[in-house]
Amino acid sequence: MTVTTEVVLAAEGLTKHFPVRKRGRELLSRTNHVVHAVDDVDLVLRRGWVTALVGESGSGKSTVARLLAQLYPRTSGDIRLHGESAAVSTARGGRRFREYSRKVQMIFQDPFASLNPVHTVRYHLTRALRIHGRAGKGKQELHSALAELLGRVQLTPAESYLDKYPHELSGGQRQRVAIARALAADPEALLADEPVSMLDVSIRLGVLNLLRNLKERLNLAILYITHDIASARYFADDTLVMYAGRMVEGGDSETVTQHPAHPYTRLLVDSAPDPDRITGSAQGLVQEEGVGEPPSLITPPDGCRFHPRCPFVMDKCRTALPPRFDVGDTETHWAACWLFEEAKA
């Protein structure tokens, strides 16, 4: 399968370390502790293409999204919009940041927190339109722009939603308002951070369907962050897997979910609840692999970060960081694991 579509947003060597405060005893020591939230991440988003990002909780998925939206200053690495470095000097305001935000919009993980409780839907959307100069002239044009926007996320008729406050909306409706706000900028890339995590299955389905439609109609480049690997399989073209701040595997979704290569991805896929496994009396739960805690991101393990939990651990894994190796089953499938050193050759 060849990827021909145009790259909208690309990240190279994206790294984010959060400083942590010292504890009493460490006051006098020199070492500065940081959380290695994201380390050396490469990623591309293409027009009309959905890229899924999965991984365990705390592996840095949201941080990647926020870095791409330039809400956090980067520790290092580069972000390219249409091939041009788009880094703004500070993460705060400024004209360049606004220009950037028009092209790259983000949907936040938590729909309950990302809408201001004191403002109506109308306010949220009007602002988004105004900022990006799409509010048109006069009341009439503004109203039709709003209606169009809400129509896109299937909140119709617009009148019954415009004057509601976030708390008057259901989770799914809020999520869609957040999406509508992101779309108001008419972006080229959309960073959707777990847009369905809090919804129950029936509502979840509606939101995913909406995003898929948008992708097809508007040719959006979408980053879809999720815990739910099954939905990545159904919804995304590409899937990337993160573990402890690093990308460990990538490739087209069907392959990654059906034939996971990296031991962590395998663990992830195996752990996902599966009603088709032997049902009842919890038989399927009794497995022994992949036990242990996620690693500390303040002092991450040397070498491959998964090695303390890896059932296939080799000596090399403990010291050397694995680069990307092609897995070999499809063109785009790769894994950062020494197990595939051979396959590459």
Partner: protein, 326 residues
């Protein structure tokens, strides 16, 4: 810069800024100590004295404000607070040593007491929301809206007088020598009853309200329900789970209140002529006694800072979450 260094820098900066302001403000008052003294006596002092007093206070040497400021800082650095004009020729430090214990004892103790009492009542009011104890709220609000001094005056009028057990004013029976004698302590205690009661009555409401609202908020937290689910005794849930958490915001408020002991309640000292810092301060302001004003402000500033620091520490001790954050 580490957290503690930053904190320290903050304290030093605040102290310096406050001291500087405290230095300049009193000097902006028109008039000078001598005329204030003469003026205050309204003809009871011979005007020929102006000259002798001016010499006495060292005000005949014309110094620029800046020179005064630098010599003030130098003096402070030596721990010398200067000589009080109003109590000439006593050093400020001596005046403070005399007044401070009274303030600390009376107002400090009552502030602590009213905090404890108000907080405890607040715990009950918040826990049994809607019960009779919660019904006390309007009454305590009413009481806490009354100015201290008014309450104090009324108390004096109602409860003191010839033959009353409660003295109307002062810190102890005139004529007694302050010391650890039983008679003195008895007298000091008796003199402190009324002002103490006034402060407590007027300030307990604030604590009660704050604690009650926090209790109500905390009661809705999941861990309280869990505590109930665990089948713990009611007292334990109320005290160890609800109150213990609800207390946290009050702690920093308490720190501030302790620091404001002097600045906030000096009117009580005024009304009861309680021989503390507050009374001295009013007197010093009236007499343009710069050295004493500065000395008192210094004490207040340090007290607030110290109280803040203690509150920080207490907060850290009480809330393990802050320990990580530093």
């Amino acid at each position: 810069m580490s957290y503690f260094l930053r904190r320290l820098a903050f304290y030093v900066f605040t102290a310096w800024a406050a001291l500087t302001i405290n230095f300049f403000i009193p000097r902006l008052i028109p008039g000078d100590p001598v005329s204030a003294l003469v003026n205050g006596m309204r003809g009871q002092i011979d005007p020929a004295q102006i000259q002798s007093l001016t010499v006495l206070f060292g005000l005949d040497k014309k110094q620029s404000m800046w020179e005064q400021y630098t010599s003030y800082l130098a003096q402070l650095a030596r721990g010398d607070l200067g000589i009080s004009f109003g109590n000439f020729p006593l050093p400020v430090s001596e005046v403070l040593t005399q007044a401070l214990p009274w303030t600390l004892l009376l107002i400090g103790v009552t502030t602590v007491l009213s905090f404890l009492l108000g907080t405890l009542l607040g715990v009950f009011a918040g826990w049994w929301r809607g019960s009779w104890i919660d019904g006390l709220l309007p009454a305590t609000t009413f009481l806490s809206s009354i100015p201290y001094f008014w309450l104090g005056l009324i108390a004096v009028a109602l409860f003191t007088g010839v033959g009353s057990f409660l003295p109307a004013s002062g810190g102890y029976e005139p004529g007694l020598v302050p010391g650890w004698s039983g008679e003195f302590i008895d007298s000091a205690l008796r003199h402190s009853l009324l002002p103490a009661a006034t402060i407590i009555v007027a300030s307990v409401g604030g604590w009660l309200l704050a604690m009650r609202n926090m209790m109500v908020t905390v009661t809705a937290e999941d861990y309280i329900t869990v505590a109930h689910a665990k089948g713990l005794s009611e007292r334990r849930v109320m005290m160890n789970y609800a109150a213990r958490n609800a207390l946290l915001p009050s702690v920093s408020g308490f720190g501030m209140a302790l620091g404001l002991v002097v600045g906030g309640t000096f009117l009580v000292e005024y009304v009861f002529s309680y021989p503390g810092i507050g009374l001295q301060m009013l007197d010093a302001i009236a007499k343009h006694d710069y050295p004493l004003i500065q000395g008192i402000f210094l004490v207040v500033t340090l007290a607030v800072l110290a109280a803040n620091f203690l509150a920080d520490l207490a907060y850290m001790a009480l809330d393990p979450r802050t320990r990580k954050e530093g």
